[in-house]
């Protein structure tokens, strides 16, 4: 398969680096070759990749490997750091006008998703107790104004329009005046999509900019953009001096190398990302997470973060002990399940685990309902039953099924499943013990 995703590609690479005592020049070189290919497959611009590889290689070669890290981990650390350097460390907030309204101007190529994103951002602001207004300044694309109006109606945000016969500069000015009068504190101006080499239309944007002085000029760019992302970003930035970037369509298998390219050539922060088709699918952009995702640690950093928030560490330790000593009860199982629930839907969690290709996840439907049933069944047991499931006879089963609103079959299924996982855990625990003693070497832990 040519395209298993940058994530798994990089994991492959680093897997190969693992378990080598020392990191030689050749190792770094080999690794960097793979990193280069992976980044190119993710559509990071060729020149940006070259620079990146050079800078990472320079740092990697001749560096002392930190004591607590394996050489491979050390390379990951450096690559990660450099990626974060490239992307910027923190999320970046919207510039806000001292005198409302704050004016945000959207610019970009055709089809980047400006109009949809205008709706999403308006809804986002509204949810944060702001009063946004949308201004329809795309007078060229057929039905673009209508599209914005439909979106505005869906999210209950006012849309200002003067039709498609008025100059966009005048529409923008009138829109802002209108927002002031109606007490709106944010104005989002949707402009027509245009090519970065179309001087006439670029001049129109410059005119809009000069006459309204927006607080934000955001380039809306498709995350699937290829090598040309740098040219687009550069041209828009040269003409308009962007304040930031919004990356759209960053969902599914989109690897979003464009994010790196755009940041590298403009230096402007990515402020938001569009992650789906619903109007609520907008997120603040976290550069550090993006780089770790590209790196092949999935969003494992945010997974860890999430897990830490939800799970009390001591409880986790206790659990581990119980697992090791085979004292794992249904009560523990229930607790564990509830903690997992706190972390969010299973599907989202799975997506964050590196190496899991989310496009293949499509078919796996984790039934959250089934988890609810399981919870209900366990809750219908007495304390004694939870501690020692072997005492559950058929009359107890009947009672439990009735109490949880499930069937005896379901109760049976749960008990059987529990026994099985207990066995598996014992095996794992034994494995771990043996490994510590160095008894067994596993062929699959290459």
């Amino acid at each position: 398969m040519a395209f298993e995703g940058l994530t798994s590609k990089l994991q492959e690479t680093f897997k190969r680096l693992k378990n080598k005592g020392k990191l030689t020049d050749k190792d770094v070189k080999d690794a960097m070759r793979e990193v280069k290919l992976a980044m190119l497959e993710a559509d990071v611009n060729y020149k940006v990749v070259k620079d990146f590889i050079n800078s990472v290689s320079e740092r990697a070669v001749g560096q002392e490997v930190m004591e607590s890290l394996t050489p491979a981990q050390h390379v990951i650390k450096i690559v990660n750091e450099e990626l974060i350097n490239l992307m910027g460390k923190n999320e970046s907030k919207l510039n806000i006008s001292s005198v409302p309204p704050t004016v945000i101007m959207f610019v970009g190529l055709q089809g980047a998703g400006k109009t949809t994103m205008a709706g999403k951002l308006a809804l986002y602001l509204k949810k944060h107790s702001k009063k946004p207004m949308l201004v329809a300044a795309d007078i060229y694309r057929p039905a673009a104004i209508k599209q914005l109006q439909v979106l505005g109606a869906q999210i209950d945000v006012p849309v200002f329009s003067l039709g498609d016969k008025i100059n966009p500069v005048d529409i923008a000015k009138a829109g802002i005046e209108n927002a002031k009068k109606s007490g709106c504190d944010y104005v989002i101006i949707d402009t027509a999509g245009r090519l970065h080499i179309d001087e006439e239309l670029m001049n129109e944007l410059v005119n809009i900019k000069n006459s309204i002085n927006p607080n934000e000029i955001l380039l809306v760019i498709d995350a699937m953009t290829g090598q040309d992302a740098v040219n687009v970003a550069e041209q828009f930035n040269n003409s308009l001096e962007l304040t930031g970037v919004i990356l759209t369509k960053l969902d599914g298998d989109t690897r979003g190398g464009a994010a790196i390219s755009v940041k590298a050539v403009t230096g402007k922060p990515i402020k938001f990302v569009g992650v789906g088709e619903k109007l609520t699918d907008i997120e603040v952009f976290y550069p550090d997470r993006m780089s770790s995702r590209i790196l092949g640690m999935g969003d494992i950093l945010s997974l860890i973060e999430k897990a830490q928030e939800a799970i009390d560490e001591k409880k986790a330790m206790d659990l581990q002990n119980k697992l090791m000593h085979q004292q794992f009860t249904l009560e523990d199982f229930l607790e564990q399940m509830q903690q997992m629930k706190k972390m969010g839907p299973m599907k989202d969690l799975l997506k964050m685990i590196p190496g899991i290709d989310s496009s293949k996840l499509g078919d796996i439907d984790i039934d959250e309902k089934e988890l609810d049933h399981t919870e209900a069944i366990i809750k219908s047991m007495t304390k004694q039953e939870r501690q020692n499931p072997s005492i559950i006879n058929s009359s107890r089963k009947k009672r439990i099924a009735a109490g949880s609103g499930t069937s005896i079959q379901e109760v049976n299924k749960l008990l059987a499943g529990f026994e099985q996982s207990k066995k598996m855990m014992k095996q794992f625990a034994d494995m771990q013990k043996n490994m510590k003693k160095g008894k067994i070497k596993f062929p699959f832990f290459k």
Partner: protein, 301 residues
């Protein structure tokens, strides 16, 4: 002419031949120069051909340079172009149907320019003398139907539409009946832009296909995938996903009027064997052209 002039002339010849030799040596050097290959590969990657296809091409190039004993770097470049043109194929270009009635199902992810391309296709085909009907099958995106209707008015082509949010399969069903009743030559169906990873939307496409099969079986059917020239390697994934629910017969490459080279279609041709049929080169109604591989490759290098 005195002997002096003769000598001069002779010397000039020698001098020329010496320079030629030097030039030859230089180009021999250039030939064995990894730098040249690297340069070419870089140019290919920069135009979104992608690493895999670029190295496939370079492999073929190396072989042919050796076989044909080529020494001049200009010739290498020429050879490279030939290889790519071969890869793209020369047949199957254009959207003139083999027979009528014909139905074109136009698919693609969001924002690639499906609706606009359909408008241009309608204009192009109408000018070739075909009677065209459009089906507003994108009932999902806000105002997509209106956008198609504007194109219908511009081109003087009828648009079959339902309400926004209605079942697209039902729209297609009605459009087929209408095309039959009006004895239309070509029915072009718009569909909702879908991110190829959205299962439901892909399911919907499957349903539309079923209806086309059942209700318009006699028609010459083509599924055309619209790709944005600015798209990178993700286009391969897009194409693969659409191939799973539909036989994709060809590509319409849009937005070739910017600085993007659209090299990704070479990768699509190479890896998935889908030919490019038409290209969109501007915003005007007549800015849809038959694909010309040679001109396309010339533009890349």
């Amino acid at each position: 002419m005195g002997w002096f002039d003769k000598l001069k002339e002779g010397l000039a010849k020698t001098r020329d031949s010496i320079t030629d030799k030097i030039g030859e040596v230089l180009s021999i050097n250039k030939k064995i120069d990894e730098e040249l290959y690297e340069e070419l590969e870089e140019a290919m990657i920069m135009s979104d051909i992608g690493y895999k296809t670029s190295s496939d091409i370079i492999d073929i190039l190396r072989k042919r340079v050796k076989e044909n004993k080529i020494y001049d770097s200009e010739d290498v470049k020429q050879l490279l172009k030939e290889i790519i043109v071969e890869m793209m194929g020369n047949n199957n270009i254009g959207i003139i149907p083999d027979n009528t009635p014909a139905v074109y199902l136009v698919v693609g992810v969001n924002g690639v320019g499906k609706t606009t391309s359909i408008g241009k296709m309608a204009y192009y085909l109408k000018n070739k003398g075909y009677k065209v009907v459009l089906a507003a099958g994108d009932t999902f995106r806000a105002a997509a139907i209106d956008q198609l209707e504007v194109w219908g008015r511009r081109t003087g082509v009828e648009v079959i539409r339902h309400q926004e949010g209605s079942d697209p399969a039902a729209v297609i069903f009605d459009a087929i009946q209408s095309a039959k009743a009006k004895k239309a030559d070509i029915l072009i169906c718009d569909t909702a832009g879908r991110l190829h990873n959205k299962k439901n939307l892909m399911e919907e496409l499957r349903k539309i296909n079923k209806i086309l099969e059942k209700e318009y079986n006699q028609a010459y059917k083509q599924t055309l995938l619209v790709l944005d020239a600015t798209t990178g390697q993700n286009a391969l994934i897009q194409a693969k996903q659409f191939m799973e629910v539909s036989d994709v017969n060809g590509i319409i490459l849009t937005k070739l009027d910017g600085t993007a080279k659209g090299g990704i279609v070479i990768a699509v041709s190479n890896e998935l064997k889908i030919p490019v049929k038409m290209i969109g080169v501007g915003e005007g109604i007549d800015d849809l052209q038959e694909f010309n591989p040679t001109a396309f490759v010339d533009a890349i290098f």
